[in-house]
Every structure is written in C-alpha cells, then in structure tokens.
C-alpha cells in the first residue's frame, strides 16, 4: 500500500481502542508499521502515536464493518482480536484497508498474507474454544461452580454463552489464568473482569468425593486391549491436562498425598 508510514500506533489494548486506531488510520490515510497495545511493552523503532480510545469513533467502525463487509469479515475481526496471533492488530488493519476497498470477498483472498494469517488464527481460536467447552472442569465451592483455564487465545467471550445456556440457574466463575481475565455469572448477572487474580480454593469433602468418582470412572472406562496414548494425545493435547480433574497432576497428586497421609502418618502417630 502506497501510504505506508514510518509510524507506530499504541493503544490501550481494548477492542474499542483498536477500532479507534482503525478509525485514525483511515482518517489520516496512513498505515502504521507497528500497531501494539500499551501492555505488550513492545519496543518500536518508529515514533509512536498514542491512540486515544473513543467509543463514538470505534462504534462507527464497528457498524461499518458489520454492515458493509458482512458477517464473515466481521467474525474475522471480532475473533481475530481475541486470537493470540502475533501482531494481530496490524494484520487486521491491513485486512480492513483491503476489505473496504474490495468488499466482503476480500476475506476469501486466502493468497493474501494477512487474510491467510488471520483465517488461521481465527481457526485456532475457534478450535481451542470448542475443545475447552468440553475440557473445562468446574469445582463446587460452597454451591458456586468455579473453573480455571489456561488457554492461548482469549476464549472467555467465545465460550461464555455456551455455559450460560448450560447453567442458567447456577452461579459460576471461569478464570483465564493466562490473560488474568474472569467471567462471572452471579444472581443472573454477568460480569467480565480484567486484571483479575484467582486461585481455586481447597475442595471440601463432597467436592473431593465427586472428583474421586470421576477419576475412577475415567480409569475404568479405558479398554486395555485398545490402549492408544497417541490417539488420545492428538485429540487432547497435553497442555490442557493440568486443569482437568482426571488428568491434571495437581488433582492427581493431591489424591496420592492424601493416600500417603492416611497410610504412613497414622502409623507414625501410634
């Protein structure tokens, strides 16, 4: 693109902040070389232009993307923003410049590098979100359901609806440890926290009982004649295991320690 400039954009990391940057880029007819959020602490060789988040401008971009570029492009932007793609902001910006020129079909130009990267990133995100719908494990903590996940992408906004549908009458919390974000549904109201900190508290007896039942169920249903760890690994990559009741070392170790405790220490106490 001819209006490439030796400039970088820095924004506050929010979706509206990003859209404000898009607005600025179209207004000033410039394409920044870098586009990053302030907390990414990226180092840039070029002079930095600070993008002030402006809800009104952001909204105009949002509406334009939705109405002029169609659902598919809109998804690409909305989900692309949640993905863990490196330099996603710039890829999305370049894509938008192209899309506003060529129309909705720009999203099918898979030969374009930005479209390709973005499509792949969104696929990765959707895939991770889909897996997590199954792999998330809740613990009953005083009647509320609590879960911790460590995803690569910002999946919370994508999976929240699924769990709202699933547990309309429960209070629940999902904590994304990677991005320090939390989704909370309490007394039928939704909140979404950034920069949150949370740790799963010690489980009580009932919770421990159901965990044990589930672990035991998991161990029982494997058919020895069919043991196939490779197949399990392809479907369920190891990085999800740590938060899963039946596989996570933390969950398993606690059990073992308990067993050890029961077996060894009473004998010492005698």
């Amino acid at each position: 693109m001819s209006f490439q400039t030796n400039l970088s954009y820095c924004y506050d990391g929010t979706y509206y902040g990003f859209l404000s940057g898009v607005f600025e880029s179209f207004r000033a007819k410039e394409l920044p070389t870098d586009f990053f959020s302030e907390d990414s602490r990226q180092f840039s060789l070029y002079p930095v232009k600070w993008i002030q988040t402006d809800r009104k401008k952001a909204n105009r971009v949002d509406v334009a993307v939705r109405t002029k570029l169609g659902n598919y492009c809109y998804e690409l932007i909305r989900l692309g923003f949640l993905s863990c793609l490196v330099n996603k902001e710039r890829s999305m910006l370049c894509f938008l410049h192209r899309a506003f020129r060529d129309g909705p079909k720009a999203a099918n130009q898979i030969a374009d590098d930005h479209v390709y990267r973005l499509t792949k990133a969104v696929r990765h995100l959707s895939n991770e979100a889909h897996l997590l719908k199954g792999f998330i494990r809740f613990s009953d903590i005083d009647g509320s359901l609590c879960a911790v996940i460590t995803p690569k992408n910002h999946v919370l906004p994508v999976i929240a609806n699924h769990f709202l549908d699933r547990y309309p009458n429960e209070n629940f919390l999902i904590y994304d440890q990677t991005h320090r974000e939390a989704f909370i549904y309490e007394n039928r109201t939704i909140s979404f926290l950034k920069n949150a900190a949370y740790m799963l508290p010690q489980s009580d007896e009932t919770e421990a009982f159901y965990r044990k039942l589930w672990q035991n169920y998991y161990d029982t249903i494997a058919i020895e004649g069919r043991y196939n760890p490779r197949c399990r690994m392809t479907h369920m990559p190891k990085r999800y295991w740590e938060n899963m009741t039946e596989l996570g070392e933390g969950f398993r170790k606690k059990e073992q320690q308990k067993l050890k405790g029961d077996g060894v220490f009473p004998a010492l106490a005698e």
């Binding site: 099918n108 494990r137 809740f138 009953d140 699933r166 029982t220 760890p229």
Partner: protein
C-alpha cells in the same frame, strides 16, 4: 455397597458398548432447570484408548437373567454384581454434569427380574432427571427387547436418543450365541421406535407442544469379529438398517474376548480394531460421500484391505476415473479423490469461485496434497515433477495410513486377512489392480 464401587462395576460392565456420540440436535432449558445440548458433539475427555468421552455410560445393573455367550454380564459368568437405585444414578448424573465432566447420560441395563421391571427402573431414573432436576441435557437410553410397548413409549418420551442392539450380524449367529434372543424380538422395538418418531413428527406439525419422542433418532450396534460374517455382509446389513429403520447411526464394536466358549474367538485373540476402523470408514463413505456398498466390496472381495482404506482402494481400482480437474468437477467427484474430505471439498468449491486454483492455493486453503496429487490436475496440469503410475500412487497411499500405523503394527490379528492379502506387495497389487469384473451382484442375505 458404596457408590464408588457401584460406579466402578457398572461403568466397567458398560464400557464395551461402543456407541457414544452425543447430540446431533439442539435443545436448551431456556433459563429454567439445567442443561443444554448443542448440535456439534462435545468431547469432555479422551480415555487412554483414545476414545471421545461425552456421556456417563453406565448400566442400571449388571445382573442379568439371560446368558448371551459374548457378554460379560451373562448369567453364567462369575463377576461381582451391583445395581444403582434411580435416585442415586440421577444425582450422580447431575453432579457430573454440573462439573462439566459429561454432556449427558447413556443408560443401558442387564435384565433384572424381567424386561418390564428393568425398563421401569430406567424410566424412573430418567423421570427424576427430567422432572425433579429439570435436566435438559442429552440422554441416550437402550430399549430393552421384550419390554412392554407402553414402557418403550414412555422411555422414548424421556430420552433424546434410543438404541436397540442388533448384537450380531446374522440370525444364525444370534441364535447360536444368544439363545434367549431372536432377531424378531430385537427388531420389534426398533420398528416401534421408528413408527413413534414418524408419528411424532406429524404430531409436532399439528400441535406445537406435543411431547417430543426420541428427537435425536435411534441407532444400533453390532459386534464385529465374534462370528464369521464378512465385511460385505455386515455392510449390506447396515445399509439395509439405515434404509428400513431410518437409523441415525450403526455402530460396530470389535469383539473383546470375554469367555473361553469354543464358539467364540479365544481369550488371547486381539480385538479386530483395524477391521472395525475400516467398517466405520466405509460406513462414512456410504453416508457422506455418495458411495454405495457394492462399489466398495463384492462377493469376490468380501473383506476390506487392511493396508489401504476403502476410499483409496476404490480409487486405485478406478485409475481410469482420474485425474480430475479441481477447477471444474462437481462436489461429488471431488469427494472421490483420496485425501480430499468433506471440508476440503467445500473449501475448494468456495475458493474456486474467485479464481482458478493452483497447487499453492490448494495448500493454502488447507488441502493436503500428499495423497490427492496423484488424482487431480490444476488448470489441466499435473503437479510438477510428479510421475503418476498406479504403483507410485499405491506406494504413497499404503505407506501412509495412520490407522494402519497405530493399530496394525501392534501385530493385530492380521492373520484374519491373510486369506485375501499378504504383506507381499506384488500380491496386494494383484488383488487391487485386477480389472473390476462386471459385478454380478446377487443380493446378499441380510435376514430381512
């Protein structure tokens, strides 16, 4: 007996039953109660044998008054017996569901006292789940052959999916190994459920609030490798079942030796997993790839090739059909190309609307060329540097089947297939490249 031991016994007894797909339908509690079932299956975990776990699969009880020879729960087998109470099982299901361990319940049972009593206990469990806990998640229930029609009807209104196991692929095998069961007794509830689903559909059109009867359809399951039926017979039976009873799925389950009865494979025989896998692949081709059973197998070749999957086998036997031009041929033809699946075919369709495709673009939209390259042209050209001979294609396809690598190499009973193919390459080629004889298809006997 405590719940922990009960669960161990009753899940252990249920695990050989392969059927475990969730959903295929959408339902939601709309803000009351608990649960939803969404239409793309969710796997909650994968067991050590690599299978998707989405449902709590247990038996109501593993006590049984019958003595089917291939079943662990048979009366004459010396195993520990247990039974859930309906309350217990309903609570367990809910607590597992709340923690997101499962998507729903898959309930089956041995026959306790008589079929009616057994069925009533299952109904009671589902009733508690649906009414006391207002559970909207997925429930799959086994219909108990021989139970009263009214009870089957009740069960069908509470469940999302039902299944009746056909157990063995032929009447003779069934009467030999399950003397208490007959084909007719198995098929009666299957027909009833199918009628129920059909009537319910017209009821739903007339009265919007008619209770839904088995909304996710019915399926069945048969055991593979316990009895001498050929793949060809099995595939024909399953096509007939799909047609006649409008089944959603036919499941195959490789026989796991559970007894030393001389009529069955000895306890040290490995389960025919690769064969089961081939049958699933073929079943998939019939349902989604517009293939017909007689294209894949015939009386002369009644077994699948263990080395190459059914689609590639077909392609290698029909080299004159290829190469096809990716920029022109219709969807159905694309699906015939080894290495191109439903997803790739759809991507090709949408991408080629914009510009004509070359090999690089194919790669970019995620089409894997390793196998496909032997069977396609892009803008009339073969891939550069590629020499297509049947032999080269064959080598590329046979070395490359992940199923064969993970399952076949463990020395699984390949002997079963020795009759039709040996590991000797030239012999395999002979069996593949034999010009397809004008097929004289005598209708196989499926028992209908």
């Amino acid at each position: 007996m405590n719940l922990y031991d009960k669960l161990t016994i009753l899940s252990d007894a249920a695990k050989y039953d392969a059927a475990c797909t969730s959903s295929g339908m959408t339902a939601s509690s709309k803000g009351t109660g608990i649960g939803s079932s969404i239409d793309c299956g969710i796997c909650h975990t994968f067991s050590a044998d690599g299978r998707c776990v989405s449902l709590l699969k247990v038996l109501m009880t593993n006590s049984c008054i019958y003595d089917c020879k291939y079943c662990v729960n048979r009366r004459s087998n010396d195993v520990k017996r247990a039974a859930f109470t309906p309350e217990e099982l309903a609570e367990l299901t809910i607590e597992f569901y709340r923690r997101n361990y499962i998507e729903g319940l898959f309930l089956s049972s041995g026959i306790l006292r008589d079929p009616d009593y057994t069925c009533e206990r299952m109904i009671e469990t589902l009733r508690i789940l649906r009414y006391r806990y207002r559970f909207y998640g997925y429930i799959h229930a086994k219909a108990i052959p021989g139970a009263d029609r009214v009870l089957i009807q009740k069960l069908g209104i509470l469940a999302d999916r039902m299944s009746v196991n056909i157990e063995l692929p032929s009447e003779q095998s069934l009467s030999l190994l399950a003397p208490d069961k007959t084909r007719t007794a198995v098929l009666a509830p299957m027909a009833q459920i199918q009628r129920g689903i059909k009537e319910n559909r017209s009821d739903l059109v007339r009265y919007r609030h008619a209770p839904r009867f088995v909304p996710a359809g019915q399926s069945t399951q048969m055991i593979i490798g316990a009895t001498p039926e050929t793949d060809y017979q099995i595939l024909n039976l399953s096509s007939a079942l799909y047609q006649k009873y409008k089944l959603k799925r036919v499941f195959f389950s490789a026989y796991m030796p559970v007894s030393d009865n001389p009529l069955l494979p000895a306890p040290n025989v490995k389960p025919p997993l690769l064969r089961e896998h081939r049958l699933y692949q073929a079943d998939w081709l019939l349902r989604y790839y517009h293939f017909e059973a007689k294209e894949l197998l015939d009386e002369e070749n009644p077994f699948f090739n263990p080395y190459i999957d059914p689609k590639c086998t077909w392609a290698l036997r029909h080299m004159d059909f290829f190469p096809v031009e990716v920029n022109e041929v219709p969807y159905e033809t694309l699906l015939r190309v080894p290495g191109i699946g439903v997803r790739s075919a759809k991507r090709i369709l949408s991408a080629r609307k914009l510009h004509s495709l070359d090999y690089d673009t194919l790669k970019k939209i995620g089409v894997v060329l390793k196998r496909a390259q032997f069977f396609i042209t892009c803008k009339g050209k073969l891939r550069e540097g590629l020499i297509v001979t049947p032999l080269a294609a064959f080598r590329a396809l046979s070395g490359d089947d992940p199923a064969f690598r993970t399952m076949g190499t463990k020395g699984e009973q390949l002997s079963l297939f020795d009759a039709m193919a040996s590991s000797n390459e030239s012999e395999m080629k002979l069996c593949l490249f034999k010009p397809t004889s004008p097929t004289v298809t005598t209708e196989p006997t499926t028992g209908f």
